[in-house]
Amino acid sequence: MKISQQEVEHVAKLARLELSDQEKAKLTDQLSNILTYVEKLNELDTKGVEPTAHVLDMKNVMRDDAVEPSLSQERALANAPEKAAGHYKVPKIIE
């Protein structure tokens, strides 16, 4: 299955990736090859086959809603590229 460079650009936008022209050309080619290979799955009739999201037969796992110790604000922010007044800091969003 061939995909176009426009589709690659659209997917990059969804994935929050900015690609160079060279990357776009290369990915158009490589993704087309991979998707062609993946189309092999269409040889199989999967009508009525339950999809497997997860191999274990488990449902939601609940716990008591109890207060427990957690990371301190200081430690939680220790890896922040920028912080201010106990918050993560990002470029201004609203003018």
Partner: protein
């Protein structure tokens, strides 16, 4: 024999008899790292000073009488498992400065048992790859032939074990990332059943497939590490609350009466004849030890790679959305607004393979393609899982090659992603089905490159996998060979 080349159980015997100390073992490993890591390049971070004080503490604790099997033993940790206070990069530039504020559960368990951490080892970026060539920092080399790849993604773990740069290591396996590098480097690697070992603190790649496991010099060491890391963890809701058996106990049993399945789909055109011969000989050895061999069929094997590359990339595209340059990791400078900050940080921080997989996964999940790709993949996953369910009605374990060839040359497959993906053809189904699988050494090619035998078991039946592997190992001496560096 130098201390660094010994196994956990050999060192434990020596420690018990007072023939060595944890400090001497740690120093031996650190000296070995200094001597050979310039060539092998297994380590991203070496924690020499911390290792020395952990070893001293272990010696002190031993003199007070308590001794877990890994007390004072250097175990290297793949750089996608969080280590409190120690850099954890996932071999990605985007996490190049990340120092976790907490330990992964497996790390906390090993710390509780008094292990020594020699450092953090290299991998394909975000565990995406089969050669460790996709590391964002540098390529790790195979200790048996420095021109060749060590396998991947846990290439640093397997190379460090094979080179004597640690006594054992932890790796993670999403589509073969423990077993294939173990095969390439001539060591033992176990991917446990999905849910057997907690994933808490393991940087997520594909959450329904990822599993942590040991990479060791022999089967006994793998069982020893499994005893320590397996078990339920309330911090990982997919970890299973089942009792953990003593895996070392399953080593005491022979294979008489055991049924070993051989799937015809795993002996294909294009595989190295030396690999096929070594694996067939290994099966004969197991037969001579009293096992019976049964032909089985796993008819959907040919669809596993395609299924995996839809499902794993879809999960990855979602998991890796968190790297946005806001909360941790590297932020691009000079962004003009928030969207630009995301775009720049991600585009500069991720390497080519990671971008390719995010793109493929985003495409598969995007409007209009979900049913054709993602849902189809999940349905084929069901068929692959059923294949194993059927086969395991007839046999106790299944034996196959771990990979179709021995380690390939650096650069040989990096131009064509699809060729690289196909090197995982024998390991990927195992993750899709969620069953346990081990790779153990079963021979060498004419070029003196190790070959791996893969043994698979039923869900939560690591014991049969250990039993068959140990019986084979005791009848052979492949695992005693060490790479000359």
């Amino acid at each position: 024999m130098e201390l660094y080349s010994l196994t956990i159980h050999e060192l434990q015997e020596m420690l018990k008899k007072g023939e060595t100390t944890s400090r001497a073992i740690s120093d031996s490993v650190q000296a070995r790292i200094k001597a050979v890591d310039g060539k092998v390049k297994a380590y991203i971070t070496v924690t020499e000073a911390a290792a020395a004080s952990q070893a001293d503490a272990a010696d002190k604790q031993r003199s007070s009488g308590s001794a877990s099997p890994v007390l004072g033993i250097p175990v290297a940790i793949k750089d996608n498992m969080c280590t409190e206070g120690t850099l954890t990069t996932c071999a990605s530039k985007i996490l190049g400065n990340f120092v976790p504020p907490y330990d992964a559960t497996v790390v906390a368990k090993l710390k509780g048992a008094g292990f020594v951490m020699p450092g953090k080892v290299n991998m394909d970026e975000f565990a995406m790859g089969s050669s460790t060539e996709n590391s964002g920092f540098f390529i790790t080399r195979n200790p048996w032939d420095l021109e060749r790849i060590p396998g991947g993604s846990s290439g640093g773990s397997a190379a460090a074990v094979a080179a004597g740069e640690c006594i054992a290591a932890l790796g993670s396996d999403t589509g073969g990332s423990i077993r294939q590098p173990a095969a390439c480097c001539g060591v033992v690697g176990l991917k446990p059943t999905y849910g057997r070992v907690s994933r808490y603190g393991l940087v997520a790649f594909a959450s329904s497939l990822d599993q942590i496991g040991p990479i060791t010099k022999d089967v006994t060491d793998a069982a020893i590490l499994m005893n320590l890391i397996a078990g339920h963890d309330r911090r990982d809701s997919t970890s299973v609350d089942l009792p953990v058996p003593d895996y070392t106990a399953s080593l005491a049993r022979d294979v008489k009466g055991m049924k070993i399945g051989i799937p015809k789909e795993y002996f294909i055109d294009g595989m190295d004849p030396a690999v096929e011969k070594a694996v067939r000989d290994a099966v004969k050895t197991l037969e001579s030890l009293g096992a019976s061999v049964v032909d089985v069929s796993l008819p959907h094997t040919a669809y596993a790679v395609a299924t995996y590359y839809i499902l794993a990339t879809s999960e990855a595209s979602s998991n890796l959305a968190r790297y946005d340059g806001v909360k941790y990791g590297v932020r691009a400078s000079g962004a003009k607004d928030l969207l630009d900050l995301y775009l720049q940080s991600r585009s500069q921080g991720f390497g080519p393979e990671v971008k390719r997989r995010i793109m493929l996964g985003t495409y598969a999940l995007s409007a209009g393609y979900y049913d054709a790709f993602y849902k189809k993949g999940q349905q084929v996953r069901t068929l692959i899982k059923r294949d194993f369910d059927e086969a395991f009605k007839k046999v106790d374990v299944i034996a196959t090659p771990t990979a179709p060839t021995a380690a390939f040359k650096i650069g040989e497959k990096s131009a064509d992603p699809l060729q690289m993906y196909l090197s995982d053809i024998f390991t990927i189904s195992v993750n899709l089905a969620g069953i346990p699988g081990i790779s153990i050494p079963c021979g060498f090619t004419q070029n003196n490159l190790p070959i791996g035998l893969q043994i698979l078991g039923r869900h939560f039946d690591e014991e049969s996998v250990f039993r068959a592997s140990f019986a084979y190992e005791q009848a052979t001496d492949w695992h005693k060979r060490r790479a000359k560096l």
